[in-house]
């Protein structure tokens, strides 16, 4: 009960898409169930961010605009975050109970 005042944990993921290159790719990350996950995207092309959790989430990425998507995951598992058009996996998040 010492951490009552501490802000809840959250996972921040910064994604940069520039000239067809994605940073990061295939990153391995950890999170907890119901913990907020925030993905910030800076991109020079339009794309779709697919979060392969249960259930799936899809976010539209617009070019040349700082964007932020937030979600949380209820069912533990390995969740792939994927750029649909570029066909790249940004990160795999191990969501622990």
């Amino acid at each position: 009960m010492q951490n009552q005042q501490a802000p809840p944990n959250r996972l921040n993921i910064e994604v940069t898409i520039k000239g067809g290159n994605v940073d990061p790719t295939n990153a391995q990350l950890q999170a907890k169930v119901k913990e907020p996950i925030v993905v910030r995207v800076t991109s020079d092309v339009a794309d779709e961010l697919h979060v392969h959790s249960t259930p799936d989430h899809t976010f539209k990425i617009e070019p040349n605009k700082a964007m932020q998507f937030q979600f949380s995951i209820d069912v533990p598992g390995n969740v792939d975050i994927e750029l649909h058009q570029l066909n790249k996996v940004v990160a795999t998040v191990s969501v622990q109970p």
């Binding site: 392969h52 249960t54 069912v75 598992g77 994927e82 066909n87 191990s94 109970p97």
Partner: protein, 443 residues
């Protein structure tokens, strides 16, 4: 919706995949597998015990009568045809998003069929829609066909199974409804044409689902007495030996084991980085995964065949037969690893698929009151229970495989070579199990 494929849609179904099992679980499982293997080789019985001809405990006669009743057979065939029709309707008129066809294909017809066959026997033979159509054609006085070329053995089924795992694990877009429809159409055409040309033997040797279902059913408690035809409960180790050894038997099992291992492996970041680095187009990525899948299958065939032959005291002709004679011992290993790998899919995606089938066209139908049901993620919500089950499946399958191989070695190897002759096979099995646990642990 865009038409670009999604490379990592897990098995074409989306959603998350299982968490890796904890390191300690993998280690404990590996230790047990190793200990047990050498205990079996060193201390177990020295005279063969299992015999496919041994009588089991016969079930009451009415069980056999009901199972064999013409009315029951037609009812099962009709149920299979109705289900196929329902799925075809979903495939043709349903929406591409959240269509239950992918779940029917990748979950129910794959791991669901294994579970059903292991529980009650080769069920696909009774419900296969193509077999039913063939039976109707035969009733309409179609001639019986030219007979099945013996030399082909299980090879057509091997290709069918490879085509299935290729679509699931290596094709450009496993989740595409169009690709699944195309696959199923090709399956129906090939299976039906083959049966019309070669007769009904074609189903048992060439229909991938039937071959697969028969393989899984060989480790079932239930079986038919080989002499009286009565259904009985028997020792599954006696039943395993009734696996027909035909050309392609070892390869068929290797496709099943290798593809499951490749499925784990292809999710690893190292493999994904490797593919991203060397393949820049969707086709090139698919080609690389195809090679990976082939390599995994080839490694299983090669290691198992070499190990089974690694014995002294037998002539060359016998040596050539040994991999086939030992092949049944791979069945428990394949089953254990498949359940370890796909159990949460069967339980959770299975529920999702059945709920989806209650309303396949998205019209708000509520067949059997399932429309509003929610999936119970009982396994995913308890990862340590799931990890324990997985390790038990892998180690249990390994132990059963080792016992079956040991007993078979006592029967087919000459005295003096029975202990040394089975060592290589045991080591290869330990290798499969360690690799399996390592992949489940996530590398």
């Amino acid at each position: 919706m865009s038409d670009r494929p999604a490379a990592v849609l897990a098995h074409g179904l989306g959603g998350s995949t299982d968490l890796p099992i904890p390191y300690a679980y993998a280690l404990i499982g590996a230790a047990w597998a190793l200990t047990f293997t050498f205990a079996v080789v060193a201390f177990a019985w020295k005279k063969p015990r299992f015999d496919p001809g041994k009588d089991g405990r016969a079930l009451p006669q009415w069980v056999t009568s009901v199972v064999d009743a013409t009315a029951v057979r037609w009812a099962l065939a009709l149920a299979g045809l109705l289900f196929a029709g329902w799925v075809a309707m979903a495939a043709m008129f349903g929406k591409p998003e959240n269509n239950p066809v992918a779940g029917v294909f990748y979950v129910l017809m794959w791991i669901g069929l294994v579970a059903a066959s292991l529980a009650i026997g080769p069920i696909w033979r009774a419900v296969s829609p193509v077999r039913s159509v063939y039976r109707l054609l035969r009733m309409a006085r179609m001639p019986a066909g030219l007979g099945y070329p013996r030399r082909l053995g299980y090879w057509p089924a091997v290709f069918g199974l490879f085509a299935f795992v290729w679509l699931e694990l290596a094709s450009p877009d496993p989740g595409s409804l169009g690709a699944i429809k195309l696959w199923l159409c090709a399956y129906i055409v090939i299976t039906l044409t083959g049966a019309i040309v070669c007769g009904d033997r074609w189903f048992g040797r060439a229909d991938p689902f039937e071959a697969y279902s028969v393989v899984a059913s060989r480790f079932s408690l239930f079986r038919r007495n080989p002499n009286s035809g009565r259904i009985e409960i028997g020792n599954p180790f006696d039943h395993l030996l009734s696996l027909p050894v035909r050309p392609g038997t070892v390869t068929m099992l290797a496709v099943l084991l290798g593809s499951t291992a490749f499925d784990s492996f292809s999710a690893s970041p190292d493999w994904r980085n490797f593919v991203d680095h060397y393949a820049h187009s969707v086709a090139a990525q698919s080609a690389m995964r195809t090679v990976g899948l082939l390599v995994f299958g080839a490694v299983v065939v090669t290691t198992f065949s070499l190990a089974a032959r690694a014995t002294g005291g037998v002539d060359r002709a016998t040596k050539r037969k040994l991999p086939g004679l030992m092949a049944h011992s791979l069945i428990p290993i394949v089953l254990g690893y498949m359940f370890a790998h796909y159990l949460s899919y069967l339980v959770e995606r299975g529920q999702q698929t059945i709920i989806g089938l209650a309303d396949p066209l998205g019209h708000g139908w509520n067949l059997l009151g399932l429309g509003g049901a929610q999936v119970n993620y009982v396994l995913s919500l308890h990862p340590s229970v799931l990890a324990t089950i997985k390790v038990c499946c892998v180690v249990g399958g390994h132990v059963a495989g080792v016992i079956a191989a040991h007993d078979r070695a006592l029967r087919v190897l000459p005295s003096g070579y029975q202990l040394t002759g089975q060592l290589a096979t045991m080591l290869v099995m330990v290798g499969y199990t360690f690799t399996g646990l390592y992949l489940l642990f996530g590398g």
